[in-house]
């Protein structure tokens, strides 16, 4: 393959970012191929305001807050859920949202609130939990919906001249749910080939090779290199569950801003489970953080190394921006694996 054309590929997903850093793939690539990281870490793109709100709910007297492990150390503008826990709030890490229902049944006098974050990989399981809660008539279970939809964000990036991505390395696990159809629009409309691939070293290398070939051949389509799990039509059952409980809504992405129809809100039939409606917490939006480049990093415009806080004021131990907190955040990956 000729190497005189420079190409910029974006790995959309945080799991890919981590796998690339962990295996040292970047060091093996020719200079003509640049890999940049995208917005695919759900913890990282959750705005501070939503975290502040979750903390405010967690601090309420009769609340038990549950969430996934990554979320508890993410700083809002006034601390983290982990700090709230240290000071007495009942915050519990769960591995599956279904565990929250067990907690709800054991604590009938408490309100159990699940702080929900995640993309299409995660959100259908939460929707299924909500359906199950309704079926069982559980009245003390609520969800803070901070879910995000990948494709509106992908379109924002694909259409940005500033970012200038030539192709996308797309996440295998999201695609298991969504199928390949949604990528087709991005590939055709914006002339950005997409390769859906797995998370092993060889999967990623093969994905990069196929993308480079597609760019060379001007072939703007979608290819699945992860055929062992991704089907063209995805998982319609999971999507139906998701669509039964939630509907798309405009949503704020930390560091990026509002993206049309990129979040999920409760449908009327399930609004009894909506924590926003139940608690109606109003807190002011915090001022943007000074010096933190997470917004640019999430869009692939800047690298963590461009940030003055990186490795100095901002470390995994004392993270300032979200990309340093999540194990799959770009800054954490750079901090850990690239020196």
């Amino acid at each position: 393959m000729s190497s005189n054309i420079k190409i910029k590929l974006m790995e959309v997903c945080g799991t890919h970012t981590m796998a690339i850093a962990r295996s040292g793939i970047k060091k093996l690539l020719p200079e003509s191929i640049e890999l940049i990281s995208g917005p695919g870490c759900p913890v990282c793109v959750t705005p501070q305001h939503d975290i502040d709100k979750a903390i405010a709910v967690a601090k309420l007297e009769d609340v038990i807050m549950t969430t996934f492990g990554d979320m508890i150390r993410v700083p809002g503008s006034r601390g983290t859920l982990s700090e709230a826990k240290m000071h007495g709030a009942d915050v519990r890490v769960v591995y599956s949202c279904m565990d929250t229902l067990t907690i709800a049944k054991k604590n009938p006098k408490k309100k159990i609130v699940f702080m929900g974050v995640g993309f299409e990989t995660t959100s259908p399981t939460i929707a299924a939990t909500i359906k199950e809660a309704k079926r069982q008539g559980i009245k003390n279970f609520f969800v803070l919906s901070n879910f995000k939809c990948l494709f509106p964000a992908l379109e924002t990036i694909a259409s940005s001249k500033k970012i200038g991505v030539d192709g996308f390395i797309c996440p295998g696990h999201v695609s298991v749910i969504t199928g390949t159809h949604a990528y087709e629009a991005v590939a055709r409309r914006y002339k950005k080939p997409c390769v859906i691939t797995g998370f092993e070293d060889m999967d990623i290398l093969k994905g990069i090779k196929r993308l480079a070939e597609k760019i060379r051949d001007n072939s703007y389509n979608v290819e699945v290199e992860y055929k062992r799990v991704v089907k063209k039509n995805g998982n319609p059952k999971a999507r139906n569950v998701l669509n039964a409980v939630f509907k798309p809504h405009d949503s704020d992405w930390r560091g990026i801003g509002e993206i049309k129809k990129s979040g999920l809100v409760f449908r009327k039939e399930y609004r009894d489970f909506d924590a926003d409606r139940e608690f109606n917490i109003k807190i002011p939006k915090p001022a943007p953080q000074k010096g933190c480049l997470c917004g640019e990093v999430l869009q692939g415009i800047k690298s963590p190394k461009d940030c003055k806080l990186f490795r100095k004021a901002c470390t995994p131990k004392r993270p300032i921006g979200p990309c340093m907190v999540s194990a799959e955040g770009t800054c954490a990956a750079y901090y850990k694996y690239e020196s």
Binding site: G24, M86, Y95, A327, Y337, E338
Partner: protein, 331 residues
């Protein structure tokens, strides 16, 4: 900007950077030339005899887990700390802190397990203590054991590796941490993963009697293999290179780690040790330790105070010290 951490957090006990900072705060206050070495066991000289002395507390949850229990752990943990000084462990003390309400049968079961493991390791429990605290003041039962052993090895086993040393490990990593996590969190994974918790004194004895060129012995417990290697690189002011494809990890452990987003290199072990020995003796030591042992790396003069992992696909990266708790990922 975030303020300095003022309170002790769980991450201060995980074997990573914060724990080192806490240890340093205490060491400065209590400093003497034996303590300052900060090895798992102290080497003492009493009337010409060299003794190893160590103490450790056990707070594992759940008390009983696949592959062991708090009693077994309390024996082999301290036996191993003494062994890592190149000593033969002989005597242990045993203290219980018990929460009121604990059933007698639980404490009896733990005592039986202690007896069994002590017999296996060839050590005697020679003194002990019991305290009972009110409900909520501790979680069921905590155990402390201290131990004494004698050192006959002609050279001093320290924290410092030497140039030309090869690194040998006695078997596959990350089993204790993942077994505990699976049991503790009720993850519902039907898994055969068992804690590797065992006394290492006889394996260490075989290594010691094979070569007089062993420089460092270390059991990579909290913080896992990566943290232990980093501590040794730092203390030796030398570099360490390890080969990903040589580091043994069972497939079941690897899979559970990958589902939960853990890096096995940072997951705790309770029945593993690494031995730094002059490269020329490496194969003999490997044979002496046993068939599951592997040569996983070497000490270098480049990349001082750092650990470099040569990845499976032929690239390389720095293997840093654990900064905070590893958290399960969400997607």
């Amino acid at each position: 900007m975030k303020a300095e951490i003022r309170e002790i957090t769980l991450a201060h006990g995980n074997g990573g950077k914060l724990m080192h900072e806490l240890i340093e705060k205490l060491r400065i206050r209590l400093s003497n030339n034996i303590l300052d070495e900060l090895t798992d066991a102290a080497e003492l000289r009493i009337k010409g005899r060299r003794l190893a002395f160590s103490t450790d507390s056990y707070v594992v949850k759940p008390l009983f887990f696949p592959g062991g229990d708090i009693g077994k752990l309390a024996v082999c943990g301290t036996v191993n700390d003494i062994s890592m000084k190149g000593a033969k462990p002989l005597f242990l003390s045993l203290s219980f802190i018990i929460e009121e309400g604990l059933e007698f049968k639980v404490i009896e079961q733990i005592a039986d397990s202690i007896k069994k493991e002590a017999k296996k390791a060839g050590v005697l429990i020679v003194t002990g203590d019991i305290k009972v605290v009110e409900k909520g003041a501790c979680d069921k039962v905590y155990i402390n054991t201290s131990g004494i052993g004698v050192i006959d090895y002609p050279k001093r086993i320290s924290a410092k590796a030497r140039v030309g040393d090869a690194i040998i490990i006695n078997g596959s990593i990350a089993e204790h941490g993942m077994a505990i996590l699976n049991a503790r969190e009720n993850l519902g994974f039907k898994s055969a993963i068992k804690s590797d918790c065992k006394s290492l004194n006889f394996e260490v004895e075989r290594a010691l009697s094979t070569s007089n060129n062993i420089s460092v012995l270390r059991d990579p417990t909290r913080g896992g293999l990566a943290t232990a290697l980093n501590e040794i690189a730092e203390a030796s002011n030398l570099g360490i290179e390890v080969y990903e494809k040589e580091i043994p990890v069972k497939r079941s452990v690897l899979k559970l780690c990958s589902i939960l987003g853990f890096d096995p290199l940072y997951v705790a072990n309770e029945g593993k040790f690494i031995c730094f020995v002059n490269g020329k003796d490496a194969k003999r030591i490997k044979r002496a330790i046993g068939p599951k042992s592997k040569i996983i790396g070497k000490v270098t003069t480049t990349n001082k105070r750092e650990v470099v992992l040569k990845t499976r696909i032929g690239s390389g990266r720095i293997l840093p010290i654990l900064e905070t708790d590893q958290l399960p990922r969400i997607c």
